[in-house]
Structures are given as C-alpha cells and as structure tokens.
Amino acid sequence: MVKRVIVGAHYGLRDWLAQRVTAVVMAIYTLIFVLLLFVSRPITYTSWKALLSQGWIRFATFLFVTSILIHAWIGMRDIWMDYVRHTGLRLVLEVATILLLVGCAGWAMQIIWRV
C-alpha cells in the first residue's frame, strides 16, 4: 500500500509547468532578439530605439519580462526553500523576492513603453 501524505492540492505541478513554459518563451525571445541584433546592428541611439519601439517587439518584450518574473520567482523560491531553514527568515526573503521582481517588471515596462 502506498502511504502518501497529502500536503497540497497539486504537488507543485503548476509551478513546475509554469517554469518550463516561461523558459521556452524566454529561449525563443532570446534567439529572435539575437537574430535582430545581428541583422539591424543598432549602434546608434536612433536605431536602438527604433528596434525596441516596434509594436510586436514591445509585445514580445512584455512576454519576456513577465516570464522572467514567474520563472525567477519559482527558481528563487526553490533556492530559499533548499537553503534557508528558518521559517521566518525564509518568509522575509520570499516576500522580498516577490517585491523586487514585481518592482523590476514595472520598471522594465516603463522603460519599454517610454521609448
């Protein structure tokens, strides 16, 4: 008989899947972006701005930033869970991670949409 201790609703499957889906999004974005850099070679402010202000690139960059937010949260949470044994300290670090990531995502959006 399998004795299974029920500790949650989904055993972390949702996070596991989210980490993989966001990884694929970021990998595809990286390849496209590197290709664009090779093709357009934005060595001036005007060309750099022109590259990042295109509508579909803004859309893709938004997906990239959102993916970082989710992916980095899951990764950092795993690190805190593995190495920080003190529950209170771990909670503080997890909350700090979320606040930093959400703040960074907002900042990134402001940078991209201001251009």
Binding site: K3, I6, T30, Y45, W107
Partner: protein
C-alpha cells in the same frame, strides 16, 4: 486519518559532502548558481537598459559605461551565466520529455552544455571586447 508524524519529518536534508560530484551534478549546481546570479543582476541590467534608452546623451553615457574594463568583465560573467542557464535549461527541457536520460547520454550532454556555454562566452566576449 493521515499520518501527521510522517509529515513533520519533511523536508529532509542530507549531508552529501562525502560524495564526489559527477559532471551532470556540476551542470546542475551551476544552473542554480547562474540562475541566482542573473536574479541578482536584474536591477543592474534594468539600470543599463534604462540608461541606453533614456536619450541620445544617455546612450553615449551607456556606451562609455559599458566600455569600462570592470563593467565589461562583469558583463562577461553575466553572459556566461545566461548562456549556461540557457544551454542547461534546454538540456533539462529535453530530459523532461524523456530524451537523453540514460547515463552515457547525460554525461555527454552535460559536457556539451559546459563546453558550449564557455566557448560561446569566449567567442561573443572576444567579439564585443
């Protein structure tokens, strides 16, 4: 009634230091280290992106800033972190699909991940330096 005593014993921590780390293990811990590095660099990357896109003068300031040897060296480190995390991540995605999970293949692919990310870092770094 679930056995709550068993629940209390989790999570478990093992002392793994007497074991020597195999190559796939090295790729694994470097995947974690590179991920943590990229997280720590996040604010700095945004600072750089913000500067480069702020104005004509900002872009010139950005070019001067990333021209500094120490900044270049840090960026090279982060470039390696990104490439390693990228390559190792793709390896894990294939393993999730049950591809290349036998011992011989995992050793070969972990060697490939280490080599490809280091070589790419050197090539891109040399081109941009």
């Amino acid at each position: 009634m679930p056995d709550l005593a068993a629940n209390k014993k989790r999570p478990l921590w093992y002392n793994l230091s007497p074991l020597s780390l195999p190559l796939p293990g090295l790729v694994s811990i470097l995947h974690r280290v590179s991920g943590a590095l990229l997280f720590l660099g996040l604010v700095w990357f945004l600072f750089l992106l913000d500067m480069s896109l702020s104005s004509d003068a900002g872009f010139a300031r950005f070019r001067g800033y990333v021209g500094h040897p120490l900044v270049k060296l840090s960026l090279l480190g982060f470039l390696w972190a990104y490439l390693h995390h990228f390559c190792a991540g793709i390896r894990y995605l294939f393993m999730d699909l049950d591809k290349g999970v036998d011992l011989d293949t995992t050793r070969k692919t972990s060697y490939a991940v280490l080599a490809v990310s280091l070589v790419l870092t050197a090539v891109i770094g040399a081109k941009l330096w």
